[in-house]
């Protein structure tokens, strides 16, 4: 993952229980409600999620069905017709139905892969930052090594060895995407562990793991939420890239990345809709998560301008 979209300066001061926490929640919601970016992002992501959930109800056709009347007399794809609103592909399959079912693949894989990456990154970063010492050093040096890999090439090698399948794609996405959040968690936990309220918790006799989970990690929640949202945008792109390069979910499952790949054949370029509609679907999905992440960061970051 690139860059550091969240300011990681000093640790946030501990929220006093009760009133102030409630009012800060109210402030976040007030900020979000006024942000057009938030509403557009929410609209787009909810829209794609609904398309994925209700694809069987919304799709006019079976996404894998090859229609005899889905091709022109010379066997070329059809443009817009009443029966096929977004046209058909070289196989005579309905593009709209494939896009709707493709949302399931794109979102399903990205959501699971990203969730695993967040769990992995936060756990490793928190362990390394809290206990430090040799395990911490090993974890952080391992993170450095992983950051040196061209992640897409490593993913291609892994998927190539195991053969494309949903499980391995999810796993590979998680394996190459946890590093950024691990570094950020590490940085924040190392800073937070010096806080006076941590000392106080220790004096009351709380166990170390309990202090970490109950009194440190909650302060990271905002950062994690922002990163997980922006991470969704990156994983959707990553899954699409794998599919574009021929290592997505195997046929005949519809995948946006491979649809774009099939449409980008020099002989297919005249049938522009083969590229344009799946591109639009991917773009709007990624845009939704980026808008949402950006709005959340602005509302949750107390150090914003």
């Amino acid at each position: 993952m690139i860059g550091s979209p969240v300011s990681t300066g000093g640790p946030a001061p501990p929220a006093e229980e009760g009133v102030s926490l409630e009012s800060s929640r109210a402030r976040v919601w007030r900020d979000l409600r006024r942000s057009p970016t938030f509403w557009i992002g929410a609209l787009l992501t909810v829209g794609v999620a609904l398309a994925a959930l209700f694809a069987p109800l919304l799709a006019p056709h079976d996404p894998a069905a090859q229609f005899d009347n889905g091709l022109t007399i010379i066997g070329a794809p059809l443009g817009h017709t009443a029966r096929f609103p977004l046209g058909t592909d070289f196989e005579g399959r309905d593009i709209l139905s494939r896009l709707l079912y493709g949302a399931r693949i794109s979102l399903g894989i990205s959501l699971t892969g990203n969730l695993l990456a967040v769990l992995l990154g936060v756990t490793l970063g928190a362990v390394a930052g809290w206990w430090r010492g040799i395990p911490g050093a090993i974890i952080m040096r391992f993170t450095d090594v992983m950051l040196a890999f061209p992640s897409l090439l490593l993913a291609l090698a892994l998927v190539g060895i195991e053969g494309p399948g949903v499980g391995i794609i999810v796993l590979v996405i998680a394996l190459v995407s946890w590093t950024a959040l691990c570094r950020i968690t590490y940085g924040q936990v190392t800073a937070l562990r010096e806080g006076a309220w941590i000392e106080a918790a220790r004096v009351t006799g709380l166990r170390e793991e309990r202090i970490l989970i109950r009194h440190v990690l909650p302060h990271l929640l905002a950062t994690i939420v922002v990163y997980a949202t922006l991470g969704m945008a990156l994983t959707v792109v990553f899954e699409g890239s794998l599919a574009y390069l021929g290592l997505g979910v195997p046929n005949p499952a519809p995948s946006w990345g491979r649809m774009i790949h099939d449409g980008s054949d020099p002989n297919a370029l005249q049938f522009y809709w083969l590229i344009v509609y799946p591109s639009l679907a991917l773009f709007l999905t990624v845009l939704g998560f980026n808008f949402l992440g950006d709005a959340l960061r602005d509302a949750l970051d107390p150090r914003r301008s």
Binding site: M146, L153, I161, Y244, G257, Q270
Partner: protein
């Protein structure tokens, strides 16, 4: 400076050693039968047994790793079984194409990103700044294979201004480099805006203004050089991600670099060749980071002791 350089170099080598452990695990410990990856899908049972013996695959893993490492250090990355070429020369032969494309991509990133960030920072909060943010989010949400194919569709297919792909025409590099650079450009423009705003609130900027220097002089002469440092560091750190973009863009435009080689290797299940591009790519990333670190230390003496 010398001590610092030596330490950074040693650290880079240590990272590469770690990289070799992971590529070893990927190539030899993850697959159920690594002999099949070496011999290819058509190898007979007897051939597989021979490969196991010849490659020492019947040995314990640490012995195998040592063997693997000695081969790597001698530049032996194995043989591609789709072309029977040695992997290292095959990958290195494509490297110049990737380097020139990558270099032009980074140039586009800076040439578009720096002015954009500057304009946004100087018009903070105004319509121009918000427009730049919106534009950045829009462009950044276009994955490289989407952007590349749309550019190809419009400028190469529809208007025939550029070739459809390949590297025969000197013009052919423009669209792939632009695809590569645009996403980074908007990303770094946001980063530059943030660092510039931080720098502009520093004391020495106030001093420069108080001396009566014009805002333009202050920004271009004092603030921008100081804000560029973090951007350069970030470009170095993002090199691994950037190379992923290179692979995709080369595949879109049939640009004959390392990424296209990896892409072609996939369709032949040529794991050795893909692993070769992974290793050369990792060396490239580590070298780029080292270069950035050393350049920074040379420019800014405060970095050296750390």
């Amino acid at each position: 400076m010398l001590l610092y350089s030596a330490r950074r170099l040693l650290w880079g080598l240590a990272v590469l050693l770690g990289v070799s452990v992971i590529t070893f695990i990927v190539a030899f410990a993850v697959p159920a039968d690594p002999a099949r990856n070496i011999g290819g899908i058509h190898a007979t049972r007897a051939a597989l047994a021979n490969i196991r013996r010849a490659y020492g695959l019947d040995q314990p893993l640490p012995v195998q790793y040592w063997d693997y490492l000695t081969h790597l250090l001698h530049g032996d990355l194995g043989r591609s079984y789709s072309t029977s070429e040695d992997v290292l020369p095959a990958v290195l032969g494509r490297l110049p194409y990737t380097l020139i494309l990558g270099l032009l991509g980074v140039l586009f990133e800076l040439a578009i990103g720096v002015p954009l960030g500057l304009v946004a920072a100087l018009n903070r909060g105004r319509a121009l700044d918000r427009g730049a943010l919106l534009g950045a989010l829009l462009v950044f949400s276009l994955p490289p294979f989407v952007l590349g194919n749309l550019l190809l569709l419009l400028f190469a297919f529809h208007w025939s201004l550029f070739p459809l792909g390949g590297a025969d025409d000197p013009q052919a590099i423009i669209l792939p480099a632009l695809t590569l650079g645009l996403g980074g450009a908007v990303w770094y423009s946001r980063l530059l805006r943030t660092t510039l705003l931080e720098v502009l609130s520093a004391d020495y900027i106030r001093t420069a203004r108080a001396k009566g220097l014009r805002m333009r002089r202050v920004v271009l002469g004092h603030a921008l050089p100081n804000a560029l440092g973090p951007i350069i560091t970030q470009i170095g750190l993002d090199m691994g991600y950037f190379l992923g973009g290179v692979v995709v863009v080369e595949s879109v435009f049939a640009w004959p670099g390392m990424g296209k080689l990896a892409y072609d290797a996939i369709s032949h299940d040529d794991i050795n060749l893909i692993m070769g591009t992974v290793l050369v790519g990792a060396v490239f990333v580590v070298a780029a980071n080292l270069l950035v670190d050393l350049a920074q230390a040379w420019l800014d003496p405060r970095i050296r002791p750390g």
